[in-house]
């Protein structure tokens, strides 16, 4: 099984440790992983701003980079959802379709494709899980609180395999953090207020670390936490799932 590793641009630039953890975790679980060096961005920042028509070149590039893999896996529900919903190229539609059907967000790849039942990981810590909207409502990584349907959560299922992780309950289990792409700057006031409220919910319930499947949401909440000098850290779920059984939480 050849896996193409999709590391979204802001993770590449600002959170390389998330990319590293994702890669190591997939390799640990027996995947043959390659990172195509020519990759940049999925095109979502333009598309969500109303400029989907400017994403053609990003699309062609994405297809060139990832057409040859059995699976494409990325540690970001939002970027993966964008590709799933919007990757098209009239010149290479077969390849685009292959990618749309074979691209997975990391946690759903672990639960649905690799069918991971246990993880050799240990992370003794109180953890708050932030359900990022695009992963949850877009990709269906977890049941949505609005629907009358049986609950499930793929990221939670994985976190429960990690020794020592204590998940804290939240008052609002799946409210948006307010990042929202360019929304975070064009609607600064509301974006920050949403972020502050999300953070309070986690902190109030004793979370020491806030984790999630999207670095963008975490980056937003981290920015708020650091400004408030709160001791709470954010970590991408890959970093927790990749914690070696012998390592300590403060690594």
């Amino acid at each position: 099984m050849k896996v193409g590793l999709f590391i979204p641009c802001y993770i590449d630039q600002f959170y390389p440790q998330v990319g590293i953890a994702t890669l190591q975790l997939l390799e640990k679980l027996g995947c043959e992983v390659e990172y195509p060096q020519g990759q940049t961005c999925c095109g979502q920042p333009m598309a969500n701003s109303g400029y989907e028509h400017l994403t053609h070149q990003c699309n062609s590039l994405f297809i060139k980079n990832f057409a040859d893999y059995d699976y494409i896996v990325g540690p970001s529900g939002s970027c993966v959802l964008h590709i799933k919903d919007h990757l098209h190229d009239p010149a290479a539609e077969t390849a685009a379709t292959h990618i749309r059907e074979r691209i997975y967000e990391l946690t759903e790849f672990l639960t649905d494709v690799l069918r991971v039942q246990n993880l050799p990981a240990r992370f003794p810590c109180k953890v708050g899980l932030h359900q990022s909207c695009h992963g949850q409502r877009g990709l269906g990584l977890a049941q949505m609180s609005e629907l009358v349907a049986a609950p499930f959560s793929k990221p939670e299922k994985l976190l429960r395999m990690v020794e020592g992780v204590e998940l804290v309950p939240l008052d609002r289990q799946d409210e948006c953090c307010g990042f929202g792409g360019t929304f975070c700057v064009t609607e600064e006031a509301v974006s920050v207020k949403m972020g502050k409220d999300r953070v309070v919910d986690h902190v109030k319930h004793g979370a020491e670390v806030i984790t999630g499947t999207d670095v963008s949401c975490l980056m937003h909440m981290e920015g708020i936490l650091r400004r408030q000098h709160a001791g709470v850290k954010v970590m991408h779920i890959a970093e927790i799932l990749n914690q070696n059984i012998h390592e300590q939480a403060n690594s």
Binding site: C9, Y51, G223
Partner: protein
């Protein structure tokens, strides 16, 4: 008319100047959302009901021409007088004309978002006709000279102390009394007098049944009935999308409407108006005002399924923290943001961007409108139609250029991270809206791709 110059972001920024009040607004509406969840969960067939309601509305839109004619025919047979208004101005002219013909200078009105959309009240005032809004929330905002901030809870933005003050000023209640029970009783007394004097009553319409020519109006207060059953003239104003095919379909919608709206099993009154009572005149004004145009927009026509429950507002994390007035349109919130650009793209170009596209709205919608997907699609349409700024377009083009050329991207990233490390003040300043209330991420020395190059490339 009623045009505001400030956009959603500016108005939301203003709303957020008082953070405890934002918390209060957020928590009040979240509580309504929680009540809705509880009610929905009490019905195991909830999702099937939503599917069914959506399918009935789809059928209604696909046969709207036939159903409108059928409705008109039935309503006329029932003794109603049916009027057709192409736009807001014609709607207002028709209503004013009926009132003037009967010499009515004073009327009561129950909640109708359509008349808000058409700005009926100022039009009537300009013609010397006084309107008394009789829904308590609407009366409160009318006294405050404000528009409603929510389609179901018109004065949800107001604190009881402010309402107490308004009542003291206008209704003569004792100063400082802000007890909801007391204030409601005072409003009851005040409005009873209005009901007893009014010669005409205007009501909205929740559902109009093609099969029977009847209209269903839902209220908790009983104000539509008090108005309509006492007045000599009943004018019911409705958008043409309110039509449903058959009477039995009301069962589906009435099960969903109040549960979605306020978490009640049904509104106190679901009144079925079919014929005028003896000696009464019943007028029905069917209003297009852009609806037939929206019907032709394939990506957006589903917005016409809306039954105005307001659930998308209550669940919207942006609405709860920006307030209804920040949407500067009669119907606020997510549904308003996909309806308003159809009325005027230029004036409402900001609204589809007032969302994180979190998708909660689409999940609570009782008729399953794909609201967040329509928000995304409106963004594309608005930009293509030129309702954007030159600087935003230039920025996006530059971004697209960088992101589609891997070498440029890598160089820019390296340079950017270096600048952030060497001269943090260049990004950590007040001109950067991110930095105003958030720290920037700490720029690492190497990117993932650089790490990979060094450590993994075989």
């Amino acid at each position: 008319m009623n045009r505001q110059t400030a956009d959603h972001a500016t108005l939301a920024d203003r709303f957020n100047e008082n953070e405890p009040r934002v918390d209060w607004h957020d928590q009040t509406l979240w509580w309504v959302r929680a009540k809705r969840d509880k009610m929905a969960r009490s019905i195991p067939e909830w999702e099937q009901l939503r599917d069914t309601a959506s399918a009935i509305k789809r059928n209604a839109l696909g046969n709207l021409y036939e159903y409108l004619i059928q409705f008109e025919q039935q309503a006329t047979q029932n003794g109603a007088i049916v009027h057709w208004a192409a736009d807001a101005a014609e709607h207002n002219r028709i209503v004013t004309g009926i009132l003037q013909q009967h010499g009515v200078r004073h009327l009561v009105k129950s909640k109708s978002m359509l008349t808000e959309e058409c700005h009926l009240n100022p039009h009537l005032a300009a013609n010397g006709i006084e309107v008394i809004d009789t829904d308590l929330g609407e009366r409160i905002v009318q006294l405050a000279k404000e528009p409603p901030s929510h389609i179901v809870l018109p004065c949800i933005h107001k604190k009881k102390e402010e309402i107490g003050e308004l009542f003291h000023e206008h209704l003569g209640t004792p100063a400082g009394n802000a007890d909801p029970q007391f204030l409601t009783a005072a409003a009851r007394q005040h409005l009873r007098k209005e009901f007893l004097q009014a010669k005409a009553a205007v009501t909205g319409v929740n559902f109009a049944v093609a099969e029977t020519g009847e209209m269903v109006v839902c209220t908790n207060e009983g104000n539509a009935d008090m108005g309509a059953h006492l007045a000599d003239i009943h004018i019911a104003c409705m958008g043409i999308e309110k039509i449903i095919p058959q009477r039995k379909h009301l069962g589906v919608f009435l099960r969903l409407l109040a549960r979605s709206a306020t978490g009640q099993p049904i509104t106190t009154y679901s009144s079925h108006f079919r014929q005028p009572r003896a000696g009464q005149e019943l007028h029905i004004v069917l209003v297009d005002n852009g609806r037939s145009r929206q019907l032709g927009r394939e990506d957006f026509r589903n917005s016409l399924k809306c039954i105005r429950c307001g659930a998308c507002m209550n669940t919207c994390p942006v609405y709860r923290r920006s307030g209804g007035h920040s949407y500067h349109t009669a119907v606020a919130g997510p549904i308003g943001a996909i309806l308003a650009p159809n009325l005027d793209m230029k004036d409402y170009a900001d609204l589809p961007f007032a969302s994180t596209l979190c998708g909660s709205c689409s999940n609570v919608c009782p008729v399953k409108i794909d609201i967040h997907q329509q928000l995304y699609k409106w963004r594309q349409v608005l930009v293509k139609e030129g309702h954007t700024t030159a600087s935003k377009t230039a920025g996006m083009k530059m971004m697209s250029g960088v992101l589609s050329a891997p070498r440029t991207y890598r160089a820019a990233g390296k340079m950017g991270r270096w600048v952030m490390r060497a001269f943090p003040g260049m990004v950590n300043n007040r001109l950067n809206p991110w930095y105003k209330q958030r720290e920037m991420p700490a720029p690492p020395a190497q990117s993932f791709s650089q790490w990979y190059e060094k450590n993994k490339k075989s």
